[in-house]
Amino acid sequence: MQASTPRRRNSRRTVNAVMTTLTAACAFFAVSILVVILGYIAMRGLTSINLQFLIDTPKPVGEGGGIGNAIVGSLVLLALGSVIGLPLGIAAGIYLAEFGDGWFGKTVRFVTDTLTGVPSIVIGVFVYTIIVLPQKQFSTWAGGVALALIMIPIVTRTTEEMIRLVPTSLREGALALGAPQWRVTLGVVLPAASTGIATGCMLAIARVSGETAPLLFTAFGSRFYNYYLDEPMASLTVQIYNYAISPYDEWHALAWAATLVLMTLILVINITVRIFTRKKF
């Protein structure tokens, strides 16, 4: 009976220990980067933030200024994007789940998946060519449409997955009572899948709330509070960008503060989603 020599055994043991350490180091490194980034945001952001900052509009250098209109603008754009994108995404998801087994369904699914991978700046360019160019102006509408286009594939995929998870027995029970299919889908299946679909919507909103590129040439940005949808609209992300690339230290500080506000919003959404999904499983 042959046994491997102690030296061979030790080198294998060493390799094993080294690799375990290395992989743990990778995980530790990745987490520490997150901590460093979030910590920095908190540190730099907290020093510049105050109530005035949250209400004011941007002012010339030296006069302070704030991100009040940017916060409102982001919320308006998010709302607009959701109003357009969520129903369309859910409807497409329902279609794919209920009727999407043929070649047409497969094509639609493939195309939707393609849309997921399109860089958001390309979507910005597209919306520019079909809305901004003809209208000859930047508008909130355009920004909302751009955001909706990013949200739709995310929501479609989650909705389809969640609906498919609903057991057929539930459907059959309703059908056997003589309900038409549309009633079954809307009244029985959708409510059953509602938590999952809501999660998908929240994920889409979280994802889109951080988008800058598609807004750069659709909603463009503004220094004022706006009320009209056919005018440009400020947003947190674009404002952060503008402050960050400016040459003024004062504005850099404002950029950090604005980032703090944005990150708070995003973290809240993400943690909420996490709580929801943990409860489900």
Partner: protein, 336 residues
């Protein structure tokens, strides 16, 4: 042979398919107007999506026509980008995109694999869940925030602590020569690496978890160490891992804001990694709103079209590879 766990047996699948088909048949048979309206409404949404994506291609192609007519294929290898003179060539941006993405992959792939292996194979479940959550949180940070952090934190670090030693030790290579400012191709690559790590590691985790336990047991029973067993799992998941990497590449290619803020935005092709550069996405972000003249604008749209096509192909390949390993085991709602 034997069905994998989690996928329905062929009989159950056929039954489900038959039931769905009979729904549709019964749809026309019921004559319920509600059903017909329902179906039409949903169909039109599906068609709308098809319409949107195809019009994306059409609209961008249409708007790049002036540039295509002017430069033809030489656009792709033209290295001169001079809006003033009206000369436009995409090569500097293609170069910048490729090199920054490659740097990102070189850094991110080992890091992501390490994280994924640690989370799936090594860490106890209680530790793995919070760490997995934290790593996924990296994906939730917006691009512009990465850019901000990149300008004020990463770039100085690169300038003071990372690039000088590299130049001192490896400066004989043209890669590491040149002026060190902290803003340039290398920093762009590093920030991309941080941004694509959570995506690659998330997909690799799914792929590793899909490898059956029996493979691990087979290796262990032969006297393999933990690491040797992990190598067997990696061999099983190979094509899925390749897919994850390509997916990360697709993301890196399309990243805009963070890269724009740290790469320097100079349309030049330089051998040095420390020099400023320009990517496809960055030039669009920077110059689009200031583009004067139809030719300028259409050149930018043409660049956008190139970006669209490249990411389309890359993502398509990635999805094929990943699907071949996970095949049905749900990856849940990943907002990729």
């Amino acid at each position: 042979m034997n069905p994998q766990p989690n996928t329905p047996t062929p009989a159950a699948e056929y039954g489900a398919l038959a039931r769905r088909r009979s729904f549709r048949r019964s749809l026309s048979a019921t004559g319920s107007t509600g059903d017909a309206v329902f179906r039409v409404l949903l169909l039109s949404v599906a068609l709308l999506i098809l319409l949107i994506v195809s019009s994306m291609v059409v609209a961008m192609a249409h708007n790049s026509m002036p540039s295509i007519r002017e430069f033809g294929f030489s656009f792709l290898w033209g290295s001169n980008w001079d809006p003033v003179k009206g000369e436009f060539g995409a090569l500097p941006f293609i170069y910048g995109t490729i090199v920054s993405s490659l740097i990102a992959l070189v850094i991110a792939v080992p890091l992501s694999l390490g994280v994924a292996i640690f989370l799936v194979e090594q860490a106890p479940a209680r530790l793995a869940r919070p760490i997995a959550f934290l790593v996924e949180l990296l994906a939730a940070i917006p691009s512009v925030v990465y850019g901000l952090w990149g300008i004020f934190v990463l770039a100085p670090v690169m300038r003071e602590w990372v690039e000088p030693p590299l130049q001192r030790s490896l400066g004989f290579l043209p890669l590491f020569q040149g002026t060190i400012t902290g803003i340039g191709l290398f920093t762009g690559g590093v920030i991309l690496a941080i941004m694509i790590t959570p995506i690659i590691s998330a997909v690799v985790r799914d792929v590793l978890a899909a490898v059956p336990v029996s493979q691990r047991e087979a290796a262990l029973a032969l006297g393999a160490t933990k690491w040797e067993t992990t190598r067997v799992v990696l061999a099983n998941a190979a094509s899925g891992i390749a897919g994850a990497i390509i997916l990360g590449l697709g993301r890196a290619i399309g990243e805009t804001m963070a890269v724009t803020m740290v790469i320097g935005n100079r349309p030049q092709i330089s051998a040095s990694l420390f020099e400023p550069s320009y990517t496809i996405a960055s030039v669009i972000a920077n110059e689009f709103t200031e583009a004067t003249g139809d030719l300028y604008l259409s050149a930018l749209v043409e660049i956008g079209l190139i970006l669209f096509l490249v990411t389309f192909i890359v993502n398509g390949i990635a999805k094929l590879l990943v699907w071949s390993v996970t095949r049905g085991t749900s990856g849940t709602a990943r907002a990729t």
